[in-house]
Amino acid sequence: MKSLLGKLYLRGFVSNTRIERIWKIAQVDFKKRYYNDKFGLLWALINPLSQIALYYFVFTRIFQRGQDNFVLFLFSGLIIWLAFSQATLLGMKVLVNKIHLIESVQFNWLDLYMSHMISILLGLLFNIAAYLILLFILGVNLGGYVYLFPVVLLTWFFITAGASIILGIIRPIFEDIAHIWSLLLMVGFWVSGIFFSGDFYLSNYNWFAYANPFIGLLLNTRACLLEGNTFYPGFFMVNLIYGFVLYIIAILLFKKYSKKVLEQL
């Protein structure tokens, strides 16, 4: 596995050095995060699996939730949320951590964020593969909308990339944002429908379901990855708009302020 991932690059598709550079930085980031350690890629699994085991125990044994396939329900929500959380927390430090590259050669600095997102996506895909194995072991089917999963993931990508870029610009000039963001992530973790179905909000707090893109994102992820869940086209469209708008704002802010921010490093 290690050597396969070490050598993995898009040999057939890559012809220009910019794509190769983006891929190399992503590959190195991913490698550093996981398989430089003794247990290597296992950590990519151990972290979400241990959280799932803990929450599963708490919700099924202590709170006695009797929902079918609750472990898969939890798994599908948690991996999407954890990838967002990891992407934004690490994304805050992209410029700081890569200053040595920025000061070595001329290139589009947004490529660093592209590499960052690819590296996070690799981890997410690894967890999705683990989810699929669990699905198979438990004999449960994928959702009826699984063919829409790539576009659902695309909305996740734009929202996450946009948030990471904006946080990356803010952090060097306002370091407290790291603490504020951790607090927001903690709140988001409990209110975005990871432990319960987001359709709870449809009857009670409809506005909140539209205000928090992760409620729709998790509902639609489960419609794709777990049988018996409904797909919500309205949430999908809203999230697509959220994602594009956030990403465009992030790029505009980055182009305007990135050099000023670098002066603070």
Binding site: Y9, V14, N16, T17, E20, R21, K24, I25, V28, K31, K32, N36, H100, L101, I102, E103, S104, V105, Q106, F107, I173, F174, D176, K259, K260, L262, E263, Q264
Partner: protein, 254 residues
């Protein structure tokens, strides 16, 4: 050397606003919206310069005189103040020993990472890989994380990678200061002259007057951000040494 201008700057200035941070939350909020805690530092003050293709410019000056800021502005990593004019032509790389290394990665990974950063394709890096390792004399340590290397080993690897980078303008920051032992220094000087010097435009920041005398066509002397440009290298060194009274402490070969 040709008549084609590679780097041109007019009235180039750079002012930094350095925050003197307060500790309370209120201070931090006020810092964001006002300049009340900000100190102004003029790093570069009306620098004028014109470098042609193939020329070798030396930049000398004491620590804090604005040398690194000038290199960052030429590279495009820092914007100059409004009203400044700068134009560059061609691909620019900045070479500084150890720059761009990730200490947790092996030499193999760092060669690929640095090669990719400097614009080499994976194919090109693959072709040059063994040559780089051989030049750096690090074949035995190819899979060892760079954090376990001595400073000399890191410098050799850094230099070996830099030799294979192709650019139009090289910004060289104290590159020969700690390149290794005397044998390697001699080998690297030779390789530098054969591979990089030919036809390339070079801006070299150095505290070594020997390096400046050996290679440079022109010199910019920086003092507290103000630049004085010399077409005559010896005149520049003379001015620099007399101004800072360095005659007794600087090594000068006759």
């Amino acid at each position: 050397m040709t008549n084609e201008v590679c780097i041109e700057m007019r009235n180039l200035s750079k002012t930094f606003h350095i925050s003197e941070k307060g500790f309370s939350f209120k201070d931090k909020i006020l810092d964001l919206v006002s300049n009340r805690h900000k100190m102004t530092v003029k790093a570069l003050d009306n620098v004028n310069l014109q470098i042609h293709k193939g020329e070798f410019l030396g930049i000398i000056g004491r620590n804090g005189s604005g040398k690194s800021t000038l290199l960052k502005i030429i590279l495009g990593a820092v914007d100059p103040d409004r009203g400044s004019y700068i134009k560059t032509r061609g691909k620019i790389v900045r070479l500084a020993l150890g720059n761009g290394f990730d200490l947790n990665l092996s030499a193999r990974d760092n060669i690929y990472l640095n090669g990719a950063i400097f614009g080499l394709s994976f194919k090109e890096i693959g072709e040059k890989f063994h040559e780089i390792l051989h030049f750096a004399e690090l074949e035995r340590f190819v899979n060892t994380p760079v954090k376990f290397y001595s400073s000399g080993m890191r410098s050799r690897l850094s230099f070996a990678i830099a030799l294979h980078v192709d650019a139009d303008i090289y910004l060289i920051d104290e590159f020969f200061a700690d390149v290794g032992d005397e044998i390697f220094k001699e080998k690297s000087q030779k390789a530098f002259e054969n591979k990089i010097l030919k036809g390339k435009t070079i801006v070299h920041v150095s505290h070594s007057m020997d390096t400046i005398k050996d290679h440079c066509d022109k010199v910019l002397v920086l003092d507290k951000g103000k630049g004085t440009f010399f077409n005559d290298v010896f005149q520049a060194i003379e001015m620099y040494e007399s101004k800072f009274d360095l005659r007794d402490t600087t090594r000068i070969s006759s």
